[in-house]
Symmetry: C2
Subunit: 326 residues, 2 copies
């Protein structure tokens, strides 16, 4: 089997450079990185991190619990998590519960039996206490669980930035889309709605709430939803909504020849790569997808390796991106 | 632990009805189905199929190899595969290789060691012979591997239907987008391009090829690509392309005030749910996502359970969907 020295030789760099590149620690030039990557592929080299995990009686598998890959937020952050796990020598087992407690329980039992080493939980239905009692590595992403490390975006700032932007653009009749489930109000992401509303109220504007039903499985749901909203609220001058409803509302407004941004301004929340598929780039609050993934992988691997966790809560900044919809 | 009788009692139906509903065999009314689903959730009931797998010294895990969740085709079919696997009592371990042989090899080694029971492979980089010699359950989805069961769409008919539609619409200057890698030409899906081209040539039309680079990671790649295509080929009257480039071309043409479908017709290939995010519904050839998932799960679970496979190749029909872009 090829070793690190074979890779170094083939790539014509020092073994220590290969080590730095594979562990993502310290500086490695782009040219060296590419040569190393090529050598690794050509030699079918399996990095030490993987071997170490595999021979330490660990499964070298981390489970990731989401709701469904259908949602851009989950699809995007999950993709980054898999990459970050691979860099640390772990495979990812994905569990999309699709709102089923049974699916989550089976997964949870795999953790108890040691079939997986840890769980990064982005969406949970089981009772908090079950996770607290398990005494196994668990990290939550955007979900409060007492005594369990949390990684989340700075949603409060996200909601505030969106509101301040619309105030600055002199919007007065502002509609915002909330989730139609009690689940969401228990998550950190709900803070974006709270902060959005509070910031507007402080500026003397009372925003109009509307509810979206994410669990709706009908193919045309978001189109129908957008049609209904624009018919019921013909006089609104701004909308704040998650990526998918924001895209549907943008499309429906364009079909109705409502001038964007002149008559109607739209700010999307999450800023997933799916927004790239719209006719015009939407203004958005962008989640730090890659950093969320990086931090949660850093914490779960530290827990698995019995290392000290310095911060039990990691809040990562969001970004305002000016697009053509506001 | 709750048993099937507890579920039956709570749902107020016969135990045999619960069994039929959970195994998806035989008729169960929608009302009964919903009551059973509710009872299963409330009782945290774990279906027998799962328990059977877990106590038969199997991992009860099936690996799924894809390239990346970024691509709508993979994201959509993977979502269905996970659901179908769950119905049969298997969890899914996802391996997005992102074009890395190393990632694929690690996964492949998990199969050898029995950490996973089988593999559904949608994208493979390792040498065919490695898979042939492993003597473990492997099914390929849309990828030829000698002696290994294959599930794929009827891409040949898909390409022909797209061409016939554009011929019928009197298009003459037709551009089609091919993949810029040698990988694709070894897959069944390449037949869509072959059939598309052949059908047009037989009708006396020589289509114009253009190449897309799926591995390009630049955020704006597809926008830049669409801009380049429409600038280089101002006189084309039709385009045949995969969902993502088709959406980018539709958006860029609309921005340029090219009238669709009057001046330019677009037919997308795959018809993933992502197409729902466009301003107008695109005409498309729709892949049988759910049936592809269902069939590949049926085959892999039969192989894992040492049952007879009746057909080594399963070709599933595609559908032509008339949208507003042609």
């Amino acid at each position: 089997m090829a070793g690190i020295r074979d890779v170094a030789k083939k790539a014509n760099v020092a073994a220590s450079t290969v080590s730095r590149a594979l562990n993502n620690s310290g500086y490695v030039s782009q040219t060296a990185r590419e040569k190393i990557k090529k050598a690794v592929e050509e030699l079918d080299y399996i990095p030490d991190t993987w071997l170490r995990n595999l021979y330490q009686q660990k499964s070298a598998v981390v489970g990731v619990i989401i709701n469904s890959l259908e949602y851009p937020y989950f699809a995007t952050v999950t993709r980054f998590i898999e990459n970050k796990l691979a860099e640390k020598g772990y495979s990812m087992m994905l569990c999309a519960t699709q709102n089923s407690k049974v699916r989550e329980r089976i997964f949870f039992d795999m953790l108890k039996r040691g079939q997986i080493d840890g769980i990064i939980a982005e969406y949970l239905l089981l009772d908090d206490r079950e996770y607290q009692h398990i005494q196994k590595p668990v990290v939550t992403l955007d979900r409060h669980l007492l005594d369990i490390p949390l990684v989340c975006s700075d949603h409060h700032t996200g909601g505030r930035l969106a509101a301040e932007h619309l105030i600055q653009k002199s919007c007065k009749k502002i509609l915002y889309i909330e989730d139609n489930s009690s689940y969401l109000s228990s998550t950190p992401s709900y803070q974006s709605c709270v902060a959005f509303k509070d910031t507007l109220l402080q500026a003397g504007i009372t925003p109009i709430p509307a509810k979206v039903n994410w669990k709706e499985e009908e193919k045309d749901y978001f189109h129908t939803f957008a049609t209904k909203i624009l018919t019921q609220h013909p006089n609104i001058d701004a909308i704040f909504a998650a990526d998918i409803p924001a895209m549907a509302l943008f499309n429906e407004a364009t079909r109705r020849n409502i001038a964007i941004p002149e008559q109607l301004k739209i700010v999307a929340y999450d800023g997933s790569p799916w927004l790239n598929q719209t006719l015009r780039q939407l203004t958005c609050i962008e989640q730090p997808f890659e950093q969320l993934a990086e931090k949660s992988v850093e914490v779960i691997s530290a827990l698995i390796e019995n290392k000290e966790i310095t911060d039990n809560v990691s809040v990562i900044p969001v970004k305002f991106i000016q697009g053509e919809s506001s």
